[in-house]
Symmetry: C2
Subunit: 705 residues, 2 copies
């Protein structure tokens, strides 16, 4: 009985107890909506309880409507057909969630979006409903940046609408106000005093929700798990000015309507604002954690919902003093997002699928989903451990699916076995590090996500694919940004730099590739004997006669219309390259539609397509290598392909414990080799240094050294 947390469920006490025993749970928690009853309180298990600092007491916002939270919004775009123009700022928004705040009008901004110019305040008025622009340029487009009040907490609203709850709106109040801040502390104290049976307070989370806006039809309009738009207010802007010494305006948050979303290269002001908020939030969160500790309880935090400012890879996070974090996971990327955190004692995973009727319905096969999730997650856990696992939702639903119950029983046992056979260690890795380079760097380590999970869109499917492959490969990884690249000491820690992403996004890096210092640093890095692996649009930005600014390192460039008059002559390698070792046929690079051409006659072309040109290649550059891949969606084949490439460029071809079957991976520990079968078939595989090993479907086998 250890390392597992399960949700309780009223009315199904015996059944829950059975699963608690079967899966070896040593902790229980109440979910949203369920309250602990006596039966569970008397169990021999730690008790977790969810706590919402910014909305726990719904009397407060009703008594103090001036101290609720704000959100920064931009109106729709309107073209001036006449000499004046009227704009209803709220048109297109869901008024049950967001309400115009006329008190904040001094902070609003009107922009001419055809020229990008700010319209001076003399030229517009607000009558309580609409903004009237009195002097417009005909046929230019205009928008209004403004503050709205958040009259419904986003997660509460989502649950309310999704599950047809019939409750009063939960309104989030703002810790930026002294009175409210003190109330948050006082309420937490009082709660701790009252809830003597609770061992662990699970903050969900602290003060500000990530950005979500709904449209006039009550459907999601915009969502960004990393968004700060719901943390701002006139008061917060004042605090920012005090702290940073200069003014921030709505446009710095609105960002022309893009809201600084995670695909955008961050501006200096926005990075400053993140820094400011992380400091602000961590200071207040520390007070909350201290209160919890005063009452002899542990404090953990859920990574999500009101997590703004608490990014665990940010530099103020450790100051909060949390005992642990809980994250949701379905794959290796999700696991590593938690397991790579520093300064955290308890790392807990709430696995997917959630035990909800959308998965657990008659005729469905949730055990297959679980097998796939566990297969991907297990690779990552073997590479870098988390401490605890569990589920959310209704155990009574899961109990109806015996194959799922069996699968989880096996997995929880494996999870404990991993900890028993390799206590306090991760698998053995080479000394050097692999760097994942993008515009955000460390702060968004392992967070390629659009929402909470590593489920992507076609624009970041290769980023997720590369990370998922790496999440279970025996390497030390670090996420770096372009400042890190320009720091020679930092760069010296790496042997391989990987850049993956679409052009003009924060993933590939956009205009950072116009910085000659960045280009020179990477060129020198490779020329010295290291490697640069580019996937998708690495170093892409128009200028100076190229598109991939590192076309000399990569040996390829992308045809974006400037060089169509050149003839191209390219030939694929005739011999099978080491990169394809153990792989049958071609690798799948996903959906692309531009042409990649060689810029170096001596380029090794591993895979060439008639219509789309070079799909995979390796270029010798000085003493090092530049690798190009058009795309790399996640698959078992592509995982092995990337592993082969890394071993090839790091000159590590004769590695121990490599299998001859792409579905089998081995992890070396101090006393054991752990071998996993990532397929649903029984198989025998030869492993270098070990010989033949037989494995049943999805088996994890331990071989004593």
């Amino acid at each position: 009985m250890s390392r597992v947390t399960l949700p309780i469920e009223k009315g199904c006490e015996e059944l829950v107890l059975e699963l608690i025993k079967l899966w070896g749970a040593d902790a229980i928690r109440n979910s949203d909506g369920t309250k602990l009853n006596e039966f569970f309180e008397n169990l021999d298990a730690k008790v977790y309880s969810t706590y919402f600092p910014a909305r726990e007491d719904q009397e407060w916002p009703r008594q103090n409507p001036d101290e609720i939270q704000h959100q920064a919004l931009i109106s729709e775009r309107y073209t001036a057909f006449d000499d004046t123009l009227e704009i209803d700022p709220m048109a297109g928004y869901y008024k049950e969630q967001l309400e115009l705040d006329p008190e904040t009008v001094d902070y609003w901004q009107v922009f001419d979006r055809t020229t990008g110019e700010l319209v001076t305040k003399e030229n517009w008025t607000f009558d309580g409903n609409v903004v009237k622009i009195n002097k417009v340029t005909k046929f230019h487009e205009y928008t209004v940046n403004f503050f709205s009040k958040q009259v419904w907490d986003t997660t509460h609203m989502y649950n309310h609408m999704t599950n047809n709850w019939d409750t009063d709106k939960s309104i989030p109040y703002d810790a930026v106000f002294d009175k409210t801040r003190e109330h948050i502390y006082a309420h937490l104290k009082e709660w701790c005093e009252r809830n003597t049976n609770i061992n662990v307070v699970r903050f969900t989370t602290f003060f500000y929700h990530f950005t979500i806006m709904y449209n006039q039809h009550a459907m999601q309009k915009f969502g960004d798990w990393f968004g700060y738009s719901a943390s701002v207010s006139p008061k917060m802007f004042e605090k920012f000015k005090e702290e940073k010494g200069y003014e921030i305006t709505l446009e710095d948050i609105i960002d022309k309507g893009y809201y600084n979303n995670q695909f955008r290269n961050p501006s200096k002001v926005f990075l400053d604002y993140i820094d400011f908020m992380q400091k602000f939030v961590s200071t207040l969160a520390k007070v909350c954690v201290d209160i919890v500790h005063e009452y002899g309880k542990e404090a953990i935090m859920f990574i999500g919902d009101n997590w703004v400012g608490t990014e665990p890879y940010g530099k103020y996070f450790k100051n909060i003093g949390l005992d642990g974090v809980a994250g949701s996971a379905e794959c290796g990327v999700d696991i590593r997002m938690v397991s790579d955190m520093e300064d955290v004692r308890i790392k807990e995973i709430r696995f997917l699928p959630y035990l909800f009727p959308d998965t657990f319905y008659e005729g469905n096969t949730p055990h297959l989903e679980w097998e796939y999730n566990w297969m991907r997650s297990r690779r990552a856990i073997l590479t870098k451990k988390v401490d605890r696992m569990g589920f959310g939702g209704y155990l009574s639903l899961a109990a109806k699916f015996p194959e799922f119950v069996d699968g989880v029983t096996k997995s929880t046992n494996e999870f404990r076995e991993i900890h028993e056979n390799s206590p306090n260690e991760d698998c053995i890795k080479p000394d050097y590090k692999i760097g994942i380079l993008n515009s955000w760097g460390k702060i968004k380590s392992w967070q390629a996500n659009r929402t909470g999970h590593a489920s992507g869109v076609k624009e970041n499917v290769s980023y997720i694919g590369v990370l998922e492959a790496l999440s279970g490969l025996p390497y030390n990884l670090e996420f770096i940004n372009f400042d890190d690249v320009k720091n020679p000491e930092k760069l010296a820690e790496f042997k391989v730099i990987i850049n993956v992403g679409e052009a003009n996004t924060s993933f590939s890096g956009g205009c950072n590739w116009k910085d000659e210092k960045v280009l020179s640093a990477i060129r020198e890095f490779v020329a010295k004997g290291n490697s640069f692996i580019g996937v998708g649009d690495p170093s892409a930005t128009c200028g100076n006669g190229t598109y991939f600014q590192l076309q000399d390192v990569l040996g390829v460039d992308k045809e974006v219309g400037n060089t169509l008059q050149f003839s191209r002559y390219m030939k694929q390698n005739e011999e099978k390259h080491f990169a394809f070792d153990q792989i049958q046929g071609k690798i799948y690079i996903g959906n692309r539609n531009k042409y990649i051409y060689s810029t170096n006659e001596n380029l090794e072309i591993l895979q060439l397509d008639k219509e789309f040109g070079v799909e995979a290649s390796i270029n010798n550059y000085g003493k090092g290598k530049g690798v190009y891949l058009q795309g790399l969606p996640y698959s078992v084949e592509n995982t092995r392909f990337l592993y082969n490439i890394i071993r090839y460029v790091t000159n590590d071809l004769n590695k121990k414990y490599v299998s001859d079957n792409i579905y089998v991976e081995a992890y070396e520990f101090k006393d054991y080799i752990a071998i996993v079968n990532n397929s649903a078939e029984s198989l025998t595989s030869n492993i270098t240094g070990l010989g033949n090993v037989e494995l049943s479907k999805y088996e994890l086998k331990w071989i004593k050294k």
Copy 2:
């Protein structure tokens, strides 16, 4: 016997004579390599002869090696791994075609291509073989811009290598030198005097070849039918400065290595250089034409080869005083490139396929190729006439394919019939014009080509598709640029503006879409009741919160990574739209890979794809309409789709003479309606205002009004 020109062939006199009679030829011409013999001289037909002003006398360049032509080149890109860097400018070029000219070193330029900065002359030297840069920034890339001598005429070289000719190299000499210019005139006079039997001098063409460079393996490296790189020289740069009052440098021609190719937005200097060259060339060409006229002969010009400066849609072309032009054609776009020319009396087409063994080999079916070419060309001829037609190559080859001979017999008869039934008129069209908007405008009317023909790459397949469809639709068309858009009087001539192309190319217009005057002009144009049809990336350029700068007019925008955090809700029209009238199923938009989303809830979405979003839509904007199509490769279906769209947006739904079968089109003339069957099947079609008409395969039927 009229309107047809055929090539002669020695040793096949009787066979040639037979085809001359069968196809009704009234003119013959010598091809490259064949000379007229007595048999043909005595025929009752006009005699054409090819003449090459810049290389007719190969004694001249051998006696005057200082007066041969130059070409502007850029070296390969080299990264500095050390404190100095040596560059061999000619590495990567074919030295049989181009030779370094050390005499021109004062004009050379060395660039740091990592920063875009010019390296000052003090920091590099040239030792006769390599450029040595003495002060470099380590890990920056460098290139050399330089002049080479053209020691082999490009077309002569091509023919030599393709047909294994065994002749001495033909060297082009440069009319920029006074002595050479006078020799060109004198040689032409002497030639005219000598060749009394020739009736028509077919200039092929005048002085400067379009840009073609070969690589070190004697394969084409770069080619641009519109390129001016082979027209420049130190002397020409001096003349430019005298004329325009400012200096031009190699970089203005080299253009970072893109060589100002047709996909690039032209710079002001490059446009000035084109203007300067057109004036220079037309002045000299006029002297040549006057000489030909003095000898009682006619002068026509082939559009291609040494045609630099003679663009027929340029403003100096008419000054040359030519009697006619000859162009090569395989489709409607090619036909209209010739037939839309103004100030030309004889417009002649040399059709494809060329009568060469690459098409006329045993087992091939050249008649099918001919039927397809003639089908597309005939639509264009019915819309806007050319005066003569003919073929090139070997008639003896064609004679071996009786179905081809029959097909051409039918076509030549149809061609004469068109002229007989509608003398001196084109088909009846509405008053207003449709404008094709791109960065080049009028000067490149109908010239979407990469080489001589409208065969494209995937980057301009929709541009060609739209033009091919329009080439045979009854509308007045004009090609316009962004200056025309900003001229209200000019814009008032149009009812529809079409913009087709990939982002950041001259076809869509690139940074021209950052000009607020352009945006306002188009918005006003549409709001007043006109229409804007955008295909591919219309108005695309990043900025101001959008990608399609006319997203308000179009009602759609393209996802390029900035707005992925927005949710999208779109629905296709439930009822079949008029645009699909007579069309079965979906239209094919070609290969695209980005997502197009609606920016207007009221957008009419005609075709919606799950993965790629809006494929076709119509947006109401003021009193007019914005139409968006993701792509429109040429097909009979897409031709009808575009015709339907144009009729819909111009409110012309009940047009007369529209068929109920997409393969049938009707053209109205003063006395007749011409009806074509564009399919290889017999069919009956109902035509509005006419009733049912029966047509055999590919038939052209005339119905008296």
